[in-house]
């Protein structure tokens, strides 16, 4: 029996090479996309956490200020060190400095070699032989090999490290032999970093290794109550969770897209297998008559599905691997998401996920074969042997009218469910209900295909059309299955494409408008996290400076929740009265009581921490908890994990040091060129970055486009699969009617007329598919824009349907559909009429 099954599979593959290959390719594409995303992301995450481990080591717990401007007092470090449950505490000071006024700032880590040996061994410095008589405790810094290469430095070289107005003239005393290739690091003795750059009397953080047998949770609990308000003690495990959380939503989003690609692949298998079953209905009927049991007739089709799925999925794994290599080389490990920076991470395929994706591919292909297999199993043998494929199972008892009514009711229910799902909040911080709603919309679209085809073609059948066209229309009215299958393939793929284009376009428009508001000044200067030099700030205050207005700002980060990435605290020179005009608020701006501190939170912040204007917010600021009034919510597309704006005057009043890192500059009218020249001196001396708002805007949008590169690739893939499906089903439909076409030929229709009829049919089917697909696409796009985006990424925007892209896309797809049907028609009409009539069986 296995032999017979194998003969049939082989026969199927050799006679329908194109359709089989396309189905395989579609499955391969789905698997490849999913697998590539998985590989890249796994590699990037591993890379990122390894990078973090090499810098942070592998402590059990970390004590750090909740405010990036804060510090851990030495007394507390020493107190924790004396705890018998603590094996060792490694204090570090981390800061960013420029080397000799280079534009790029690098990380300088001050460490204590004694404790670093146990906690962060990868950061241990090595004294260079070329630097005579030195030691790690002396004036000198140690550089990672990559940094030495990047800055063309060698041990012994004198360097000046600059942070704001502080300069440290020192020398390269050696290197960091265990640093990773991506690490751009300087290491020096902690005391030297403290003496040069601060913080006085404290360190940036302490990394704790617990004594063996001590439970992290218990120990954290014991210390939690004893810490000052501005400090947080966290389990180091939280850090990896946080790293993973950084890109989680983006990743899930991409994986859902891959799943859609896989589903489209399953659909193509469905189309292929359905047509295969239809084309071979007499063969299967014969085998049934000869004694092939119904169960084996079912299995045969499933087996053929699997025979497509197995090589398809295998090919997909290979393709996915290749794609992941290519992607990491071209776009980087963050899939364009901008979450992790650094060079391309190493792709390391492991067996379990590979098997998982392989199984997924096979499952998709089996799923696609399920309905055709069932249809094959229930074919009435005697009838199929005589007249060929029966499209629907022998009808049951229910009257057609009642059935139609039931169908309508079911579809209304699905629509209601989809609407309901869009109202649900995020689950596990993921827009799962939104994804489910999208699935329902697609189901609805596919479900709408049969009634719409019937209605449209029914109406066409009543028109006075030329004979060939009428025959084509009549054919679909009588036997709509193939048309419906072809249409639903297009519905799914076009809906997906339209929705993606809509979402991306809405997002891009929103970002564009937002950039207008957040970039009001013509010029910007920034120092990338290092305080701006006092000389520049002083010069700007002089009347000779060619600017009519200068706004300074600084940023620190606050840790509100150890499980989440830190929130940005933006210190800006703005008055509480004028805030409304300066920030892109999404709603009302509330006037705070005069005696209360007011802050304005970003939209992601509002959603992540479930806040609302008018409420009060406790911020871990400057070593204590500060209660602030939330004056309003402003739109922010730049910081996914939340941001808070505070007035610089308020910040200083609280005791904070306002060290501006960014400047917005309005040159005096007519003095733009002079302003540039004036600034150039400072930017050159201090390695600052100057940009005009136009450049920033261009750069922002190009980063945006890059981040959607994968999305575009998926769209293209989906559309191709949909068109493949259309071609395959149309060809099969035409083939099934070869005898009919031959008869018409014999009756005097010429080939061109027949081809036109088939093309007309193809155009009608494609048109219906595209129209329903467009409707579904807009609906899905709205769900993506209004439900998935806010829930996954916490940004909201207006829906913008890019008709200029959608309509030409639809026209192109229609043309492709017509072309596919023309190809199908020519294939069918090329056979000699007599042979078809004689050998139709």
């Amino acid at each position: 029996m296995i032999r017979l099954a194998w003969w049939l599979v082989r026969a199927q593959f050799t006679t329908r090479r194109m359709a089989t290959a396309l189905s395989m390719l579609a499955i391969a594409l789905g698997v490849a996309l999913g697998y590539a995303i998985h590989l890249i992301n796994a590699a990037a995450l591993a890379d990122f956490s390894q990078a973090m481990k090499s810098v942070q080591g592998e402590p059990d717990a970390v004590i750090a200020p909740r405010d990036s401007a804060g510090q851990v007092p030495l007394a507390l470090i020493n107190e924790i060190a004396r705890d018998a449950d603590v094996a060792i505490i490694a204090p570090v000071i981390e800061t960013r400095v420029r080397i000799d006024n280079a534009t790029m700032a690098v990380k300088l880590i001050g460490l204590d070699v004694f404790s670093a040996a146990a906690v962060t061994p990868k950061l241990l410095p090595r004294q260079s032989d070329r630097v005579a008589g030195g030691s790690v405790f002396e004036d000198g810094v140690y550089a990672s090999p990559t940094l030495l290469a990047r800055f063309k430095l060698a041990p012994g070289d004198a360097v000046t490290l600059v942070r704001g107005d502080t300069h440290w003239r020192t020398r390269i005393a050696g290197d960091l032999p265990a640093a990773r290739p991506d690490d751009l690091l300087l290491v020096a003795d902690i005391a030297w970093v403290q003496a040069r750059f601060g913080p006085a009397g404290g360190v940036s953080e302490g990394r704790v290794r617990l004594a063996s047998g001590v439970r992290v949770g218990n120990w954290l609990g014991a210390w939690a109550g004893r810490l000052p308000a501005g400090l947080a003690l966290r389990a180091a495990e939280d850090d990896s969770a946080r790293v993973s959380n950084v890109s989680r939503a983006y990743r899930v989003n991409l994986n859902v897209l891959a799943l859609v690609a896989l589903l489209t692949g399953a659909f193509l298998v469905f189309a292929t297998q359905l047509t295969a079953v239809a084309q071979r209905s007499t063969q299967f009927a014969l085998l049934g008559v000869l004694g092939l049991s119904p169960r084996l007739r079912l299995w045969q089709v499933l087996l053929e599905g699997l025979a497509i799925g197995v090589p398809g999925a295998g090919l997909g794994l290979v393709l996915g691997y290749v794609m992941s290599l290519a992607f990491t080389q071209v776009i980087g490990g963050d899939l364009g998401g901008g979450y992790f920076s650094g060079s391309a991470p190493a792709i390391l395929p492991r067996p379990a996920p590979a098997l998982g994706f392989f199984a997924l591919g096979c499952a998709a292909s089996l799923t696609g074969a399920l309905y055709p297999a069932w249809l094959n199993r229930i074919q009435p043998l005697a009838q199929a042997l005589k007249t060929g494929f029966a499209q629907s199972p022998p009808s049951g008892g229910a009257a057609p009218r009642r059935r139609r009514w039931l169908k309508g009711a079911a579809m209304a229910l699905v629509a209601l469910a989809a609407i309901g799902l869009t109202r649900l909040p995020a689950l596990f911080d993921l827009p799962l209900a939104g994804y489910a709603a999208i699935a329902l919309v697609l189901v609805l679209g596919i479900g709408a295909a049969p009634p719409v085809t019937q209605i449209v073609f029914g109406a066409l059948a009543r028109l006075r059309l030329p004979a060939p066209l009428r025959i084509a229309v009549q054919n679909i009215v009588q036997a709509p299955l193939m048309a419906q299958v072809a249409a639903s393939g297009l519905i799914v793929s076009f809906a997906l494409t339209v929705s993606m284009v809509t979402m991306v376009s809405s997002f891009r428009t929103a970002v564009d408008q937002w950039l207008d508001v957040v970039l009001p000044a013509p010029m910007y200067v920034r120092s990338k996290g290092v305080p701006l030099p006092r000389e520049l700030l002083g010069a700007l205050a002089q009347p000779a400076a060619p600017f009519e207005k200068v706004e300074r700002s600084a940023a620190v980060s606050l840790s509100l929740d150890p499980q989440r990435p830190a929130v940005a605290l933006l210190v800006r020179e703005l008055d509480r009265a004028e805030a409304a005009a300066r920030l892109p608020f999404t709603g009302a701006v509330l006037a705070a009581p005069a005696d209360r501190l007011v802050v304005w939170i970003s939209e992601p912040m509002q959603q992540l921490y479930r806040l609302a204007p008018g409420q009060s917010l406790r911020l871990p600021l400057l070593g204590r908890e500060v209660e602030a009034f939330i004056g309003g919510t402003w739109r922010d597309y730049a910081r996914q994990f939340g941001a808070v704006v505070i007035g610089a005057a308020d910040y200083v009043a609280l005791g904070g040091r306002f060290e501006p890192t960014d400047l917005a500059l309005w040159p005096r009218p007519g003095e733009e060129a002079a302003a540039r020249t004036w600034l150039a001196k400072f930017t050159a001396d201090y390695g600052l970055e100057m940009a005009e708002s136009g450049e920033i805007r261009k750069l922002s949008l190009s980063i945006f486009d890059k981040s959607f590169a994968v999305t575009y690739a998926l769209e293209a893939a989906a559309m191709l699969i949909g068109l493949f499906g259309l071609a395959v089903t149309l060809a099969a439909g035409v083939w099934l009617r070869a005898r009919e076409l031959a008869t018409l030929s014999a009756l005097g229709f010429d080939r061109a007329m027949l081809t036109r009829a088939v093309m007309f049919e193809g155009a009608m089917i494609a048109g219906i598919g595209l129209v329903i697909g467009l409707a579904c696409g807009v609906a899905v796009g709205a769900i993506l824009t209004h439900v998935v985006n806010p829930q996954a990424f916490h940004w909201r925007m207006k829906l913008e349907i890019p008709w200029l892209q959608v309509l030409p896309g639809a026209a192109l797809s229609l043309l492709a559909g017509i072309f596919a049907s023309r190809f199908a028609a020519r294939q069918a009409t090329r056979l000699p009429v007599a042979q078809v009539l004689a050998n139709a069986q």
Binding site: W7, T14, G288, V289, L290, G291, S293, P294, A382, Q841
Partner: protein, 220 residues
Amino acid sequence: MLTITSLSKRHANAVQAVFSGLSFSVQAGEVVALVGESGVGKSTLLNCIAGLEPADEGSILVGRQAQDIVRLGEAARAALRASSIGFVFQAFHVLPTLSVAQNIAVPLLLAGVAAGEHAARIEALLARVGLAGFGPRWPASLSGGELQRVAIARALVHRPALILADEPTGNLDPRTADEILALLLERVREQHAAALIVTHSQHVAQCCDRVLTLTPEGLQ
């Protein structure tokens, strides 16, 4: 080999029965022709005997074990067809995607005959139907007569107890039809099988051992 008792059949939603109370039997080695006007239910009767259409009443005992195909489930009916019935059709129904030998091997595979025997049996039978050496050829290259010879070989290869033939010569020119009919009868008798041949042809009917005529009133 085939015993039909009080067989009745009515199409779904039809008022009039196709036939009712049919009883007859065909012995091993006996070739019986079934004739009658178009639409009288010859094909339906044949489908009922093959278990492809359900009968409403009566019994149809098929094969050496005399199993009642009316009372069997779908899978068991398929198994009974595979083991005990051979089919010859007017439209030949040779699978275009399998070679001649593979086509003939299908019943052997379905009946579970040991794979080692296949080649010899197929070769021998091909010789008996006048197609020695045709095994590796593809059906597309065969003439109608040759195709029907393949079909006859396929119908006989698993040595069924009953051969059902539906207009086996209907698509052939008279000379070839004679040859094929002679071959069919010869081979059926040689294997001592029972055969029921549905035909419109007087000539075919005359060549059979017995002729049953189906009319709206019943068998005559």
